[in-house]
Every structure is written in structure tokens, then in C-alpha cells.
Symmetry: C2
């Protein structure tokens, strides 16, 4: 070893010892008679002292070193004159007797400080330097710790981590696959897994009973902000369980993580049905760190001659407590917010319930004080509150109001990233209508089981939209961090489901034949869940972006600007694979 | 839950309890008045009893069930009349009061028994049934346990598991890459990693100090027996370490695994230089479960008029103790063995040192008893032993004799798969000459550091073959299970190494530019090692093949016959990727 100790472990108990440290020059201060260097490694920072009087040569040498030089020093641990109580090594410093430059360093394009990151482009191009910064390094340390906690928790409960293949069969259903040409089988391709879904179900057929895997998955989608072409799932599956068992198990895992990582104890997570979540929050991943629930106002708003409300399928509002003093400018900004194309509302109605008990609204022409009081009562508003109301087609309006609610929550500081509000959303619809292709799609995937009491509706196409699935999401702070379902283990029901989704027997067999075959040899009842691990890490850290929880992320074009990938490959590689690039120009 | 207990946990202490079990029908015995069913799950087998007299309907129902049906039963735990001491549940059985068929099963194509596997083709086609068999299931359970032990061991020693990208830049050096066309960047490709080599070195530049990852890697090679296109590595890297520190750390890991998995304690692993391994065993991965070391015989065999020996660069033999009574037929078989194209020797000379002290050899014409005694003495042979001798070009002959040594070890039962003989092979050559392309290649990879004392030889092309690397392999029972090296952290030395390997500045920059750039910003001295996890598992289980330690392996054509992958993909997938299949016919 190049060192006897790390830069994070020496303290007053080590005074008098001779030690050797190695690390990076964080900063250097030249005080005439003395030179001080902060030596940094992953574990901390230790101050090195060079004395011009006692060792001029060494001190001169130290003065010539630049930031990020890699050093090895030997010296004596001494008590520090001016102690630094902010760091664990702050009581001591090293009186250096020997200095060895292990490597020089060019001046980095940004300083390696918590607050200095040089901007996104530079950070990504020099990711290896960005990773030296404490906040980024701590994210990956946290991710490691979380992964260890997850594995040990599940392993202790008889889950086996079983690796499933990365080179699998391409299935057109779902998102777009990344594909891999097979040289040994020219003209044929593997796909990279979007999830190990089929394999984990096969493992249940095999009797493995409890499976998990922290596993890389791939989706060739146009990357919205904060999506990555490769991402990591905590993928789980269990046999002989009902929905309650699955929720219990993974609620237990989430609680374990909150306890160990954050010191937070949770009671039972709240549960909400998908329909209630949409009705009360306009979202299947409600942020319940704050209330401001939707109040439907059709009965108290219609029939007052206000055409927009009278003609709307739904009039629905939220009540922002204590916001009656919002200025015209603030209200206009909110109107602009809901009218942005990303939100898409036509406009917004406000009603101020003034502190003196009077009302001021954008619809005073149609609603007198009594009518406005009725609305306020319905919304549970009090003097001093501000009511914000949208109207239109029910589902669209809910989604718009959800955006407004989140915006208000943000403005009012109700979305503290260090506060955690997990919940289960259950009873998702089984099928989702797609206007464009004019057919139903599986909301989760084709193996999701309908609720037994809704199974009969599969025989009535007019009711398909009403069928509820035994599917569930775990949501934290307005983000879906995991989801899963009870799987269909009955071949007949599975066939019916395939037909509902527009598969012929042949196309279902071509895509899922081996899984369906497997189901004829004794498939147990089974169910599963997968957490998005990148997202879970970011939420636990109170961060918005998943990118800083991935060591080497890609940008929105799927590019790694550091390594320059993807890149053209050599003609002989293409020839061997018997494929041709065929640019459409 | 569909059960109160698993099929592996009930015993005499549970007698009288009402329990519910779920599992697969392993076998059924019909004894007239009684029917017994063995119910199987991952955890064990429990006997179910159905009584014709007390519950004829239920008993009749039980009699109609076939093998591998999925059942849920409720009943009372009772003492068994005829106990089975071989299984933990052998003292009890379940007097069934309720029977629920959770799923029917077609008769499987082979029985789910330890010894019945239906042959390789069927096993792979119905891998999900094969995985139900105890021996296969136990392999994956073992793999899980080993992975957990590895992770906890390394994590306890401050290693961080950091996930590196799977979609990376293609580098022509080394084995062939699997590539992935990028839809968002038409005409460009990602590669799947052959190892995270460059990323783990970047993590050292980033100061992560200790990294590991149990990670999937990919190589598009023509698959020899027991190679897989995707395989798993325990990939590790450390900073500020010397070779000794790395060997210590990972010898410690291996010992930990032997202790926890096998209850075996090891002293320090033996070490051998690559040159000595080749000289003494003809292999860089010697099987040292047995001796039978090579003895070089040039001095005692030359000059007796036997042209083959006289003209050979090397005459070298092994002594098989107690084999002097080998028959003509056995000796012919050994000669045939060494003459097989896979071994490639021209022939074999034998000398029997008979029990009575006399000699009988295939070269009696040239060597009298005195000469043969001199050979025997040199080889440490005793009466009763058999000496087997090959000759020819030194390195080729050693490799041939290695095959013969292993064959003899096999025949003599000296290669007990339950005996473990780990060792380190160190001081590998840095460079390897390739006759075909007439240039030197890196024996490990271009980032491997030469031994400091051999560095000067890089300036003398005639000595390149003599340069030793700070590279090491960990070998068990004749298999390389891991290997690594001290990396070059100095940019100047790395450039010299690239030139030695025939790179221009431009081609090195194109391939490794970002790593080389990173090295200019303060790279610490670092080193690493990777274990082949599939192989490590197979060795710990005393098995020859890695395939049964992979849940869903591919065959020698890189095919998964169960899922039918790889497969053609849809034209619109190709169109979106802007590539064309271009079969050479």
C-alpha cells in the first residue's frame, strides 16, 4: 500500500504517530514561513504542513505543486494550531518529512469543489473529474449502500438473485427494443431486455418461489428529460402470493430503506385506487406531501349563466390556503402557467376569499357573493384562501389541475425534498384505449391479471375500459418508484387476454410461445414488482434528476460525450455481421 | 399467501397443527386404501396422505392428479407410520382435508428427478422444467449465496459497487464486440462491454479508491465448448496499491468463500511465476491437486543415437507412480491420446520401471538399463512407476505434455472435484508475439504495467518478448478463475506501450483518448482483478461445465433454443435503425 491511513481517519488519538498518506491536492495555502496543503481522498481531507524554516527544500517542492496532483507523503501527526471542527481530521495535521509526487495533473477545467461544477456540458465531458466532487461521489456511495440493503433484505427473506440473459428475443410489443445483430446467425438479432419480465415468470414456473435481481434494462425511446436508454431495476417476483402479500413484502423493503438510510419510521403506507387518485389528485402518482385535494364543483357552479362552466363535463378546483393576497401579476402568471402547451388548459378561474369575508373572483359577473360562498363552502375554503378552478373534459381537466396543484405546492414550499410521502396506488385499469391505433393496450403488460370480480367483463368489449387489474404502483413524492401486478397463471385466461389485445393465436405464439408453453407445465400463482432503482436513489437523496445517481449517464440524444459513444464502426465489423448502414438521408 | 408453511419445514414439533401447503406433485402412490402424494417446492418435499375410508371423494380427486400439477392443500400434521430419515420432513405427513388444484400440468417431457434430465437438447428446450430439478436448482442457490458473500466481503472492506454502462464505445482491440445500432444517431453503434476495464480505471481517476461490480460482459467469439457470449465477472479495482496488496485482498476473498461455502481453511496460496508454471506443468493454469511435475531430460537422453531426442529442443517427461503395469493397450491408448490433433504430439516414449527393478521401454534399442536408470533417477522414479516422455520444440512439447499429465491425473483419480488447489500465477509476459499478424499483442490488455525492473526493455524491440508484466492470475484446479494486473498510470509509459502495440498516436487517441486524457488530470497508481463468476461457481460445485450455473444459457451457436433467440426482426425495426441485412449468401 502507498499509505498507512486514509485522509479521513486521523485524529487527536494519532498524535505523535508517523504515517503515510496518499491522495489529491485539494488546495494549497502559502503563508510565508509555512505552506499548508489539503490532501483529499474518498474518505476525507487531511492538512499537510510544510515548514520553510525546518525544511526549506521540501517546502519549496510543495509550493510548486498544482491542484489535483497525486501525492504520497510521510510525516508525523501533530496537533493543529487552529482546529477545524467541521471535519473529523480537523484537530490534527501532518508535519511532512517526505513528499513523493505520484502523478502530475493538468489544471482541471473546473475546480473540484462542492459548488463548482463548470456547467452541464463540462461536467459530462469530464465526468471522471465531476465524480471527484463530494456531492456526486456521495450519491454513488449512497446508491451502493442502498443496493446492499436491498440485497440483504431480500436474501434474508429467501429471495434468490438469479441473473437473466441480456441477449434475448425481440418482442415488438411495448417500447422499442435495442437490437444486437448476431454474427453467428446472420440476418438474426438479439434484443436487449426492457425488463426480465418473461424470464422471471419462467423462474416462477421453475419453482424458484422468490426471485430478485438488480438488473440493467434498456429502452430505445426518444429520451425525455431524465430518461436514460439504460436504467436499473430492482426486479422481483414471488409465487403463491396474493396482492396483499406483495404489498406487505415491498412496503417492508421500502420501510427498511427509510429506516436504515434516513432514520425515518413509517406506519402502514396509505393506499388509494387509481380512480380515486385521478379524482382527488388528477394523477396516478399523487404527491401527498401536501393536501390541496381536488374538489368537484359541477353542482355549485352550473346554472349561473357562465357558459364555460355550464358546458363543461367537469368543473374542478383546488384551494390554496392563505393565498387570497395573491397579486394580479401572480394570478396572471398562474393563468399563463396552465395555458402553456405542456399543461394545455384554456384558462383559469380564481376566487379570492378575502380575509374580511368578501369575495373577489374572475367570474364576479356570473356569481354573486352567495354563489361564491357556496363554492367556498364546498371547497372547505376559509377567509384568506385562494380558490383556483379549471373546467373541461373530465380526465384532461384533472391532469391540467394536477399540474397547477403541483406548481402551487412548489410555490408554497409544500414539496420539501427531505420530507417523504410514500403510498400505494392500486386497482389500475387493465386496458388503456389508444385513439391513434384505435385499440386497447395493456396498461402494464399482457401478463397482468384482471381483478377476479372483473374477469367476466373480458367477454364484453364495451366494458373493457372498466376492467380493473390486480396491479399496483408504489409512489413517493409524486414519482412512481415501482410497480407490479398479479400475473395471469392460467393459460385460458392468458389466451383471452391476448385476443383482447389484438393478438392472433399465431402472433401470440410467435412472441410469447415459450412462456405460454411453460404455463401448461404447472405454473404457480405468482406476482411481482420492480422498483426503478435510479429514481429510488434520487428520491432518497431529495434530488430531482436521476443522472447524478448514475456514474456515467448518457445525454438526451443517448450519447456519452465523454467516450464519444455511439460511434461509427469499421467496415469489416459490419461485413462480419452481414449488415449495412442504410441512411435515409 | 396460498400457504402457511413451505414443503421443507414441517417436522414432529408441528404434529397436530392445521397447515396449508402449496407446491408441485412430485409423485403419487396409490396403495388401495390410501393415496400418498409427495408435494414439492423449492424448500423440500412433504408427504400428503389421502384416506379412502375417511374421505373417499377427496381421495378419488387426488388419484386423478398428474405429475407436476400445482396443488394447494390444507390438513393436519400427523406422525408418519414409516418414517423417512433422509428428508427433514420425514417424520410427518399431512392428513389432507382440503385439496385445491391451482393449475394442471401436461406430462413433462422428462421426469423432474435428480438423475433424469432427458438429454441436453430437451433440457435446454424446456429449461424451465430442467430448473425444477434439485441439482440444477441447487447450483443457482449456490450462485446466489456466493454473490452475496462476495458483495458483503468487499463492501465490508470499503469497496463500492458502481454500475458502469452497458452501451459503450466499440474498440477493435481485443475480442470481437457485440454492437448495437443507435436509432437516435443513425449510422453509429454502441458496443456491449467485454469488460468494464476503462470505466473502472476512470473510477480510480475519480478517486473512488475501491470499486467492484458483479457485471455482465459480452464477447462475440466463436464459442468453444463451455464459453458463453454473455458471462459474468466479479470486477474489482483498487487505488494506491502494490501487487502484494491486490493478491492479499483477493486471496482473502477466495479464502472467505472456501470457508463459508465449503468449510475449508487455506494457508497462504502458493505462487508460481508464469515461466515456472510453463516449465513445471506446461500450462499457465496448472492443476496442482497432484504432482507429476515435468522433468526435463535433455542431459540424460541426448547422445544415445535416438534421433528424435537428439534433434529435439526439449525432451521432457512425467512419472506416473505405480503405473508400470500398464498394458500394451493402455499405452497405445495414451499414444493415441497425444497424437490426437487437439494435442498434436508426434508420438510418446514410455519407460516402465518394473517392480523387480528392470526396465521396459519403447526405446530399448537406444537406451540400455544404465541409461534408463539415469533417466529414472532424474525423474525420481521408483520401481513400479511409468515414465512418459515427449520431445520437440520446447513450448509446444510442454503444452502437449500438459495434456498428457492431466489425462493421467484423470485416469489415476488425482483430480477429485471436491478437492481444491488454488494458486497464483504471477509475472506473466507483458507481450505475446502473433505469428499470423507478425506483431506483438498485449497478453492482458494495453493498460497492464510492465515490472519496473523490465521497463527499460521497452526501448529494445528484440527484448519485447522478455518483458514481464505486473500481471497475475488466480488458478484453481487447472482453471483460470481470475486475473488482473497493475495498471499503467503514467501517461508517458502508456504512450510507449501503445507504440509497442502498433498504435499510432491517432489510433490510440481515437480508441482510448478519453482514458488517456483522464490520466493527465491526476491518475493514482491502481490495479485490479476480475474473477470469472460462472467458472468460479462451477469449480466450487466441483462441476466441469459453467452452463448449469447460468439460469438460461446459450448453446454453441449462441442460440437460446427455448426462446428461439436470436431471430429475424421486423422490417420497420430495421428501417428505424437505418440498417439493412446484407447476407453474403
Amino acid at each position: 500500500m502507498y499509505r498507512t491511513h486514509t485522509c479521513g481517519e486521523l485524529n487527536a488519538t494519532n498524535i505523535g504517530q508517523t504515517v503515510t498518506l496518499a491522495g489529491w491536492l485539494q488546495r494549497s495555502r502559502d503563508l510565508g514561513g509555512m505552506t499548508f496543503i489539503d490532501l483529499r481522498d474518498r474518505y476525507g481531507i487531511t492538512q499537510l504542513a510544510f515548514n520553510m524554516e525546518t525544511n526549506a527544500d521540501l517546502c519549496e517542492k510543495a509550493r510548486r505543486l498544482g491542484r489535483e496532483y497525486v501525492l504520497q507523503v510521510t510525516g508525523t501527526v501533530i496537533e493543529r494550531a487552529s482546529k477545524n471542527s467541521k471535519i473529523p481530521t480537523g484537530e490534527i495535521e501532518i508535519e511532512v518529512s517526505d513528499l513523493n509526487v505520484l502523478n502530475a495533473a493538468k489544471t482541471p477545467p473546473f475546480t473540484i469543489e462542492d459548488q463548482s461544477d463548470g456547467g452541464d456540458d463540462l461536467r459530462m465531458r469530464y465526468r471522471y473529474l465531476d465524480l471527484r466532487r463530494n456531492p456526486v461521489r456521495r450519491n454513488l456511495e449512497m446508491r451502493h449502500r442502498m443496493a446492499m440493503l436491498v440485497r440483504n433484505y431480500l436474501s434474508d427473506r429467501n429471495f434468490l438473485e438469479i441473473e437473466t440473459p441480456m441477449l434475448i428475443k425481440s418482442t415488438p410489443e411495448g417500447a422499442r427494443d435495442f437490437v444486437v445483430p448476431s454474427r453467428m446467425n446472420p440476418g438474426e438479432f438479439y434484443a436487449l431486455p426492457q425488463s426480465p419480465q418473461q424470464y422471471k415468470q419462467l423462474l416462477m414456473v421453475s419453482g424458484f418461489d422468490r426471485y430478485f435481481q438488480i438488473v440493467r434494462c434498456f429502452r430505445d425511446e426518444d429520451l425525455r428529460a431524465d430518461r436514460q436508454p439504460e436504467f436499473t431495476q430492482i426486479d422481483c417476483e414471488m409465487s403463491f402470493v396474493h396482492q396483499e402479500d406483495v404489498l406487505d413484502m415491498f412496503e417492508g423493503l421500502a420501510k427498511h430503506l427509510f429506516r436504515e438510510m434516513k432514520g425515518i419510521e413509517f406506519d402502514k403506507f396509505p393506499r388509494i385506487t387509481w380512480h380515486d387518485a385521478m379524482r382527488r389528485f388528477g394523477s396516478d402518482k399523487p404527491d401527498i406531501r401536501f393536501g390541496m385535494e381536488f374538489v368537484e364543483l359541477n353542482d355549485v357552479t352550473k346554472g349561473h349563466g357562465f357558459g364555460l362552466f355550464d358546458g363543461a363535463e367537469l368543473v374542478v378546483g383546488i384551494c390554496a390556503q392563505g393565498c387570497a393576497d395573491y397579486t394580479r401579476k401572480q394570478l396572471d402568471a398562474l393563468t399563463d402557467f396552465v395555458k402553456r402547451p405542456q399543461v394545455g388548459a384554456g384558462g383559469m378561474v380564481y376566487i379570492k376569499y378575502n380575509a374580511d369575508g368578501s369575495f373577489k373572483s374572475s367570474v364576479d359577473k356570473f356569481y354573486d357573493a352567495t354563489a361564491l360562498k357556496a363554492i367556498a363552502d364546498k371547497m372547505g375554503a376559509h377567509p384568506g384562501d385562494l380558490m383556483l378552478i379549471l373546467c373541461g373534459p373530465a380526465m384532461k381537466t384533472r391532469v391540467q389541475l394536477c399540474a397547477l396543484r403541483l406548481e402551487m405546492g412548489q410555490q408554497l414550499g409544500l414539496r420539501d425534498p427531505q420530507k417523504f410521502a410514500p403510498l400505494w396506488v392500486i386497482d389500475f385499469p387493465l386496458l388503456e384505449w389508444d385513439d391513434e391505433t384505435q385499440r386497447f393496450y395493456a396498461m402494464h403488460h399482457p401478463f397482468t391479471a384482471p381483478k377476479p370480480e372483473d374477469e367476466a367483463l373480458l367477454d364484453d368489449p364495451s366494458r373493457w375500459g372498466d376492467i380493473r387489474a390486480n396491479a399496483y404502483d408504489i409512489v413517493m413524492n409524486g414519482c412512481e418508484v415501482g410497480g407490479g401486478s398479479i400475473r395471469i397463471h392460467d393459460r385460458t385466461l392468458q389466451n383471452k387476454m391476448f385476443h383482447t389485445l389484438g393478438f392472433t393465436d399465431e402472433s401470440a405464439a410467435a412472441q410469447f410461445g415459450f412462456l405460454m408453453d411453460a404455463f401448461t407445465y404447472g405454473a404457480p400463482p405468482h406476482a411481482g414488482l420492480a422498483f426503478g432503482f435510479d429514481r429510488l436513489c434520487s428520491i432518497f437523496a431529495g434530488a430531482d434528476s436521476i443522472r447524478d445517481f448514475i456514474a456515467f449517464p448518457k445525454n438526451n440524444s443517448g450519447r456519452d460525450v465523454m467516450s464519444g459513444s455511439p460511434s461509427p464502426i469499421a467496415q469489416d465489423q459490419l461485413d462480419e455481421l452481414q449488415i449495412k448502414v442504410d441512411l435515409k438521408g
